[in-house]
Each structure stands twice: as structure tokens, then as C-alpha cells.
């Protein structure tokens, strides 16, 4: 096996070269590692010049294997594989080893970092010799798409795709689509009515011939990969037959059980045990809340059943699991509200007239529990002064370090609404005003002119402990005014806490099902933070809206549309090439024990009853290797991860542990090419 290796060590500007002696690594590799025909270092290996250099070497020197020591395979594996393919070398004979994230960026000792880089290069070189040429497999793209989440981002993505002529399944957890935007009164900075711009989109989705809405449903399981996902969806029992119900609403009217609505009305209003979350809900079909329903509690009542003109009430309905096949998935699962009780110094839950931002949205909404009247908890008194506290649960190392991005603008919107609807004074307590989108700064200026009072400082506490007789019966905001350099106590009637946006409680779990990860804060990780913001590390899975990070409505809509465009590109192309890094079973030797069948996390192994053997469904296999390790007969092999490849890699990586370098895979004959080939940079 006389392979001819090319070794390419990248400086990555100073990213690698600043900590690793890259010239030494290249020089050493040329001398030390067996079968190396050429070893070079270069400023930016991923540049077109760097790629050309590799291509030329393959052609001129007849390289049979290539090792690139540079950054993460996430970033440039494709780049270097393509370069090899251009020079007619099978791309799977190229190995990228990461001496940036795994070495230079995490080291402080230049000598040790250089030694580690050598070990990593050695490991890749030993491994690449055993690598086999592989061919990616073309897979047809199912033109149907799954969108998870029926908020504004999900609705936008759904409509873009459906209008372009493709079928969409839209899964929404709650009984209606619409998301948080349906709860809002006005939208900043234009102050157009949220419902007026949202509900047309909702009904369009509801009536679209190419959209199948699955509300009150949750994503249960995902298998397969880009182009051909199989998805299990649990449709929760509504206890109302969707085919029979006309949405007349008489069941809701006659239901005798009223409960506090903690979801849509944020605890400020009531709903019945059988309900649609709000009048413009899509679909109009109600659900029965079994926790509240008298029949589910005591076995008696059934009032809704008696009054239903179409016999649509179905108490015996059960959860249903639906399996669908789709080519792509867009996650637009949104956010949840920060629990303001976690900051007890602001008194939420203890002091009645402290509100959350979501509560206030309902309070000033014309369709809300007070008909849009801004009043205190007694439902009568109009406040004479209102304090709006920014960054509650945001920009705070004790809760969430990130900025929730929308609260400054929402606070300005609230200020405007209070000034418009009441005679109250309005204070904003902010750390920094962040109004950096189109029309936002102008809106801030407008509020300054309208007379909203801005106090720069983080509020220490909101208390009802009066110090002066004039403070009695009011809420006192204690704050350090950092512009005045003074402590201030400002008594007000009402306090609004601008609570943070937080990731959904089960965001991580859902991400795992779809094979994508979350940031430390819990937001979905995009493929590239600047250049690929809606794709993820898993092909065919896209993200849109706040589930990827806090953002406002325009940005969510833009991402929804962007994700849809990315999906359309794949559908239009028709096929995708999928990684040939998969497992295969030697059917001759398979005993048919079926141990691998159940272990496969992707349901990619089928059992052939006739032949009594198991078989890998290549298009569904993700190459995780579980079956390879588990097969008692050792007859499953994992392409690109054979025992030989892994053992050789380990042996190479242990070079460092054996500084003389003799007991290793090769004796380290210095190849003549390595000796004579000068480093490009060194001249």
C-alpha cells in the first residue's frame, strides 16, 4: 500500500499560526510521517489559491491521499473535498483535521500547542491511508414540507411554500394558530393593529388548499434525513369531531364551567372548559380542557353535547398518532415568557398592580378582558402614573445574559398607549435604549416628544413599604438614576415588567428529535451566525423566528420567508446527494438475530423475513455506528469509520506520548519530497 500523501497546514491568518508553529508542523510532517509526498503550510488554505495548490499537487505529484490541518470540518470539509474532486481524487480520500478550535484557540502554550497539532496531523495521516473512495447517493426530495409552530414565522414560511405550489403540513401545539402575535394589541413602530395584519394570514393558511393544519398537535418523532423525513405527530384529543363541528360556538356559550385563562389572556381573563382561545381562532373548532371540564371531573354534565347541533362532541376521542413523509422541516417554535416571580424584588405575584408585559398587552387590547381600558387590578381605577421596567430577566447574569431585543420598542409602544388612553405619567426605567431598526429611533424620538419620562438605571426594587406619608398606597420604584448620579424613589400606581423572551421549555428536546442543537441560552443553533442564519447543521432542517434567538415581528417574518426559500431551492432541484457514510450488513454472515433492528435510533434497519437477515436502509442511515458496535457477529461495517481507520487514527494521535516516534504505524521515513519542498510562505 504505497500511498502518496499531501499534508497541508493552514495558518488561518494568525488564528492558528499565532499559537502553533505551523511551518514546523509542515516541516516535521514531511520528514516524520511515512508516505508523505509533500507537506506545505499556507496563509489561508481555504482561499482559491490554497485550493489550487492542493489541486495542482494532486495532478502533478499524483497524490492519492490529502490531509488538511485547518479549522472545523463544519466550516471547510466540503471546500477541501471539492478541491480534491476537482483534481479527480475521490473526496472521501481527503481528511480535515481541526487544529484551530481543537488546538490553537484553546491553548496558551505555543510549544504544547505545536506538539498537539503534530499529533492531530499524524492521526489524520495514519487514518487517511485506510480511507476508501465513496460515492454520495442521490435521493429524491419529497416536495412536502413540515412547519412546526403556527406563530408569525411559521405562518409566513407556510404561506410562501403553499403559494409557490408545494404542500405544507403545519403543526401547532395550541388549539389555534396565531402564536404570541395574536395576543398583542398594536405593533411597533407603526402602531398598526396586530390582529388586523395577522388574522388575514391565519385565515389564508386555514383555507389554503395546499396546507394541512394539525393544531393541538405535537411533533413526536423524526426519522430519515434530508429529502425523505418520516415524522410522527401526536394529535391530542380535542373531544370535538373536526369533520362535524361547524364552529358555531354554542357549546362554548352553554358550558357551565368558567376558568381563568392562563394562556391566551395571560391570567387576566376567563374562558370556558370547552373553548377556542380567541374569537378569530383558526380553526374555529373548540377543544375541551379535561382539567377543567365538569364531565371529566365528575362524570356528569355533557351540556355541550346536548346543545351541539351537529353531534360533534366526542368524549371518547383519543390521542391519535399520524405519520407523514416530508422532504424538509422548518422549526418555528417561538418562545415563552420569563417567569417574573424569579425576581421577587419587583413584587410580581405579591403586589397586585405589578403587571408583566404579556398581561399589559391583553389589558390594552380592545378585544382583551377590559375592552382595552388601562385600569388597575380592581378593574375600575385608571392609573395616574405607570412605571415600565426594562430588562426584567434580560441582560442580567443571574437570569439571562442576552438582550431580548424587542422590549425597548415594546416599552415605547406601551408608553404611547398609556399616554393616548389615560392621563397618567409614564416612566421608563432602562439600562440602554435599543432602537436600531428602520423607524425605531424615530419612534423613540416621538415618545420623548409625547412626554414619556426616561430614567436611566436598573431598578433596585418595587415596594409597597412607604417611607413618606405621600407614598402610602402606591408602589415605590427605587432606582439609581445614573444620569443624575442619585438614588430616586418614584411612587406610581402601576408597574409593568418587561419580562424576557426565553426558549420554550422543551426546545432542547425537540431539537434533539430533529438532530439540531441549542446555544448555551437555549436558542437553536444556526449553521452559520452570519452567512447561514436559517439553515442548521442537519441538512433539511431549518429554523425561523424567535426559536433561533430573540427578534421582533419583521425579523421573524423575514426568517420565515428565508427558510421557505431555502426549502424551495431543494424541492426545485429535486434530488440531494446524501453522505455515503453509512453502515452495511454482510448478508452472507448475518445470523438474523435482529439485535441491531431495535438499537438503530433512526429506524434505518429492516428485517428481511424471507432471507432471515437484517438490511440497512441506506437512505435513512446516519452512520452513527451503534449497530456496528452492537453486532455480536461483527458483520456490520461502518463506511468511513472502519476499525482499521479508527485504530490507525488513535495510534497517530498517540505520537506525542511516544516522543521517539518509533513504535508507531510507520517508521517515519523522511520522504524526499518533504525534504526538498520548501514552505510556500518561507519562500
Amino acid at each position: 500500500m504505497a500511498e502518496k500523501l499531501g499534508i497541508y497546514v493552514c495558518h488561518c491568518g494568525s488564528n492558528i499560526a499565532g499559537m502553533v508553529d505551523v511551518e514546523e508542523v509542515a516541516r516535521w510532517a514531511g520528514k516524520q510521517i511515512a508516505d508523505v509526498a509533500v507537506a506545505r503550510d499556507y496563509k489561508f488554505m481555504c482561499s482559491s489559491l490554497g485550493q489550487q495548490m492542493i489541486e495542482e499537487d494532486i495532478r502533478k505529484l499524483g497524490l492519492t491521499r490529502v490531509v488538511v490541518a485547518a479549522c472545523s470540518p463544519h466550516l471547510h470539509e466540503k471546500t477541501f473535498r471539492r478541491a480534491c474532486a476537482n483534481a479527480k481524487l475521490n473526496p472521501y480520500l481527503c481528511q480535515l483535521t481541526n487544529i484551530r478550535e481543537h488546538c490553537s484557540w484553546v491553548s496558551t502554550d505555543r510549544e504544547a500547542a505545536t506538539a498537539k497539532a503534530k499529533a492531530l496531523v499524524y492521526a489524520a495521516a495514519e487514518r487517511v491511508k485506510w480511507q476508501q473512495p465513496l460515492e454520495p447517493m442521490p435521493v429524491k426530495v419529497n416536495p412536502r414540507t413540515l412547519v412546526v409552530g403556527g406563530g408569525i414565522a411559521g405562518l409566513q414560511a407556510t404561506l410562501e411554500l403553499a403559494d409557490a405550489g408545494y404542500e405544507v403540513y403545519l403543526v401547532e401545539r395550541s388549539p389555534s394558530i396565531g402564536g404570541h402575535m395574536a395576543q398583542f394589541d398594536k405593533t411597533f413602530p407603526t402602531l398598526d393593529c396586530s390582529a388586523c395584519i395577522l388574522t388575514p394570514k391565519m385565515s389564508e393558511v386555514g383555507q389554503h388548499e395546499r396546507v394541512r393544519m394539525l393544531t393541538y398537535s405535537e411533533l413526536e418523532e423524526v426519522s430519515g434525513s434530508v429529502g425523505h423525513f418520516r415524522v410522527k405527530i401526536r394529535k391530542k384529543a380535542r373531544y370535538v369531531d373536526e369533520n362535524l363541528c361547524t364552529g358555531c360556538g354554542i357549546c362554548v356559550e352553554k358550558c357551565p364551567r368558567k376558568v381563568i385563562d392562563h394562556e391566551f389572556e395571560a391570567g387576566l381573563g376567563y374562558r370556558k372548559a370547552i373553548y377556542t382561545p380567541f374569537p378569530q381562532a383558526v380553526p374555529r373548532i373548540p377543544v375541551i380542557d379535561t382539567q377543567a371540564c365538569i364531565y371529566f371531573e365528575r362524570g356528569k354534565c355533557r351540556a355541550c353535547e346536548k346543545v351541539c347541533p351537529t353531534n360533534a362532541i366526542a368524549f371518547d376521542q383519543k390521542d391519535e398518532t399520524i405519520e407523514i413523509d416530508v422532504g424538509n422541516i422548518i422549526l418555528a417554535t417561538g418562545w415563552k415568557m420569563f417567569d417574573c416571580r424569579r425576581l421577587p424584588q419587583y413584587g410580581y405575584g405579591r403586589l397586585p398592580n405589578v403587571y408583566t408585559n404579556l398581561e399589559f398587552e391583553r389589558l390594552c387590547n380592545a378585544a382583551g378582558p377590559t375592552g382595552g381600558k388601562i385600569v388597575l387590578r380592581d378593574r375600575k381605577t385608571e392609573p395616574r402614573s405607570v412605571a415600565i421596567i426594562h430588562c426584567v430577566g434580560s441582560r442580567d447574569v443571574k437570569t439571562n445574559e442576552y438582550c431580548s431585543a424587542v422590549c425597548c420598542m415594546a416599552a415605547l409602544k406601551f408608553g404611547h398607549l398609556v399616554l393616548e388612553k389615560t392621563k397618567a405619567k409614564v416612566y421608563s426605567f432602562y439600562i440602554d435604549m435599543r432602537t436600531n431598526q428602520k423607524g425605531y429611533e424615530e419612534f423613540y424620538q416621538r415618545l420623548l416628544e409625547e412626554g414619556m419620562i426616561f430614567v436611566r438605571g436598573k431598578v433596585a426594587e418595587v415596594t409597597d413599604a412607604a417611607r413618606l406619608p405621600s407614598e402610602h398606597g402606591q408602589l415605590i420604584v427605587q432606582v439609581e438614576d445614573t444620569l443624575l448620579g442619585k438614588q430616586r424613589r418614584i411612587p406610581v400606581d402601576m408597574v409593568i415588567l418587561m419580562g424576557a423572551m426565553e426558549p420554550q421549555a422543551d426546545a432542547k428536546e425537540l431539537g434533539l428529535k430533529c438532530g439540531i442543537s441549542c446555544s448555551m441560552a437555549g436558542w437553536y443553533t444556526e449553521r452559520h451566525p452570519k452567512l447561514d442564519p436559517v439553515a442548521t447543521m442537519t441538512d433539511g432542517v431549518f429554523v425561523a423566528g424567535v426559536c433561533q434567538g430573540p427578534k421582533d415581528i419583521p425579523a421573524s417574518v423575514a426568517q420565515g420567508a428565508a427558510a421557505a426559500a431555502r426549502v424551495q431551492a431543494l424541492i426545485t432541484k429535486g434530488t440531494v446527494m446524501i453522505e455515503p457514510v453509512v453502515a452495511s450488513i454482510n448478508e452472507e454472515a448475518c445470523s438474523g438475530c435482529r439485535i441491531c433492528n431495535n438499537l438503530c435510533p433512526f429506524n434505518a434497519i429492516e428485517y428481511d423475513e424471507d432471507k432471515g437477515v437484517s438490511r440497512v436502509i441506506t437512505a435513512m442511515c446516519k452512520g452513527c455506528g451503534t449497530c456496528v458496535a452492537a453486532c455480536p457477529a461483527g458483520v456490520i461495517s461502518g463506511a468511513h469509520f472502519s476499525n482499521q481507520q479508527i485504530l490507525a487514527e488513535i495510534q497517530g494521535a498517540l505520537w506525542d506520548a511516544n516522543p521517539n516516534g518509533n513504535g508507531l504505524g510507520g517508521d517515519g521515513h523522511a520522504s524526499s519530497a518533504g525534504d526538498t519542498q520548501p514552505s510556500l510562505v518561507a519562500g
Partner: protein, 298 residues
């Protein structure tokens, strides 16, 4: 369970009621307290701002005195608690300072390895280690009808609080609920008592004290319960002067949380240091607790 015990100087004299009630409550809960042999002053709040090394060495000597068999130390006084914890923290996070402190200790033949001793407050021990069931189990005279304002002060809850909210702590609230007391919502619970400001500028100190008394009186609390000798001293000893200064008439008894805990556990008031406070607690206790039959089961 056995703990090392560091009473500190306040508990020897002005807060003797705290010391006896801590010991009595501990005994009820089968907490064995082993007082440090030959302990010294913790340096209180001032020493650290003068000379960090000397101040740390003074405190570390007490940590070094902890019986090698024991790994937890109870310090009821808030200032002692904070200083002990702060020194341990400093030695752990600043090894250079740790080495210097140990050099000082070596002069006296002592040595302390940062992190060896877990400095704890009795409130945390009872709340966290015993918990609701064990505490309720001990109650023989529930404090039904007694309205108490739990006052945490600043030093125990900040900055090295053990699992309680620094801004609005709740552990004492919960503990007192377990023993049947009616705990009032006391928004000033972690506000400043004035500390040594009483010695520097009385008007400022009196205003801070007045707020605490006024807030408790407004909430109709029968008494304020403290966990810090400084807080107790300021609120109790200066109450009449505050009344004179502001022309008010507060009569709020100020006692330690361990004293009423002891009452709930069925101990007689005289074993708990009642009577040592200046604004007498006895009238309130008699009015509120006389109806509860002594020895009635929880």
C-alpha cells in the same frame, strides 16, 4: 450530627439571648455544637477595609481551629458568618493571598486549607438539612396567631447566600410558617439596619431604623425576628431614641428567630433568653400565645 460552633463576641454579651436560644434549639434538633477552643474576634465589618491580609489572618485562625474531625462550622452572628465565609472564599480564589495567610498562621503553629470547612448559618442548617417535615415534627406549641416580621438584614443573604434569593429571601419566612407563626410580608426584610452608622451620624441611622419599625408596624407584626446581633441591637436598643427623634411611638419587640423557634419546640421562655430584650416581648407572647395550651401536640 456534630458541628463546630463559633459564637463570636456579640453572643457573649449583648446577644446572649441569641447564644442560649441557638444552643437550646440545637439541642432539641439533636445538633451537637462543639465550641472552638480559644476562638478570637472575627474583625467585624471594619477590619477588612483597613488591611486585608491581617483581617483575613485573624479570621482564618478561627477556621484553622476547627476540629479536624469536623467539616462544618455554625456561626449565628451575621458578621462572623460573612467574614468566615469571605476569608475561606478569598483563600480559595486567590492562592497567593491564601499562602500569605498561612504564613501568618504558621507563626502560631496553625494551618488552614481553603475549602476544608463549610461555614454555615443555623437558619440554612435547619431549613436545608432538616426541612419542613422534621421541623413540623418537633413543634409542640404552634405559634398560631403570632404575627412575625422576618428580618434578614444584609450580611447573611448577600453576597454569599446559600440558595436563598438575595433580594427577597424566604427561608426564615418558610421556617416560621412551619412552626405555625403568621408571617407577614415584610418588604424591608433585607434592607439595612444602619449598622455602625448609629455611632457616626444618628439622623441617618435613625431614619433607617424608623423605616424598618414603621413597615413592621404597618403590617401589624407583633414582633420583628432577627438573625443578626447588630440588627437586633439597633432596632431594640435605639427604638426609644428613634421614637423621641421622630415623635413616634413604636413598641415593637425585637428578638432572635431562634427564640420563638424554641417556644414552638416547647421550651420555656426563660431558657430562651426572653427578658433580655429592651422592648419587652413578654406582653405580646402572653396575649398571643396564652390560649395555646402548653404541651399540645402539633
Amino acid at each position: 450530627m456534630k458541628y463546630a460552633y463559633y459564637p463570636g463576641c456579640s453572643l457573649e454579651v449583648n446577644s446572649a439571648a441569641y447564644d442560649v436560644s441557638v444552643r437550646a434549639v440545637a439541642e432539641e434538633l439533636a445538633i451537637e455544637l462543639e465550641e472552638l477552643d480559644d476562638w478570637n474576634c472575627c474583625g467585624a465589618t471594619e477590619y477588612f477595609s483597613q488591611d486585608e491580609l491581617t483581617a483575613s489572618a485573624v479570621v482564618a485562625r478561627n477556621l484553622a481551629l476547627v476540629d479536624p474531625e469536623l467539616d462544618q462550622l455554625i456561626a449565628p452572628c451575621a458578621a462572623c458568618y460573612l467574614n468566615l465565609k469571605k476569608t475561606d472564599h478569598l483563600m480559595a480564589t486567590d492562592p497567593e493571598m491564601g499562602a500569605k495567610v498561612n504564613e501568618c498562621l504558621a507563626a502560631g503553629g496553625l494551618k488552614y486549607e481553603a475549602g476544608r470547612v463549610w461555614v454555615r448559618h443555623l437558619l440554612d442548617v435547619i431549613h436545608d438539612d432538616f426541612g419542613e417535615v422534621a421541623v413540623r415534627d418537633k413543634v409542640v406549641r404552634p405559634l398560631t396567631g403570632l404575627r412575625v416580621a422576618p428580618y434578614y438584614g444584609c450580611q447573611v443573604v448577600r453576597p454569599l447566600s446559600e440558595g436563598d434569593c438575595t433580594e427577597y429571601p424566604m427561608k426564615m419566612d418558610r421556617l416560621l410558617t412551619w412552626v405555625g407563626a403568621e408571617v407577614v410580608d415584610y418588604p424591608c426584610k433585607a434592607h439595612c439596619c444602619g449598622g455602625h452608622m448609629t455611632q457616626i451620624s444618628e439622623p441617618q441611622a435613625f431614619e433607617l431604623i424608623r423605616r424598618l419599625l414603621a413597615n413592621a408596624a404597618e403590617a401589624k407584626a407583633d414582633m420583628i425576628l432577627c438573625m443578626c446581633p447588630m440588627c437586633q441591637l439597633n432596632l431594640d436598643a435605639y427604638q426609644s431614641r428613634v421614637n423621641g427623634f421622630f415623635k413616634t411611638n413604636f413598641q415593637v419587640p425585637i428578638v432572635f428567630f431562634t427564640q420563638v423557634l424554641g417556644l414552638a419546640f416547647g421550651l420555656p421562655p426563660e431558657k430562651l433568653g426572653f427578658g433580655k430584650e429592651i422592648v419587652p416581648a413578654r406582653p405580646v407572647l402572653e396575649a398571643k400565645l396564652s390560649s395555646a395550651p402548653a404541651g399540645a401536640g402539633a
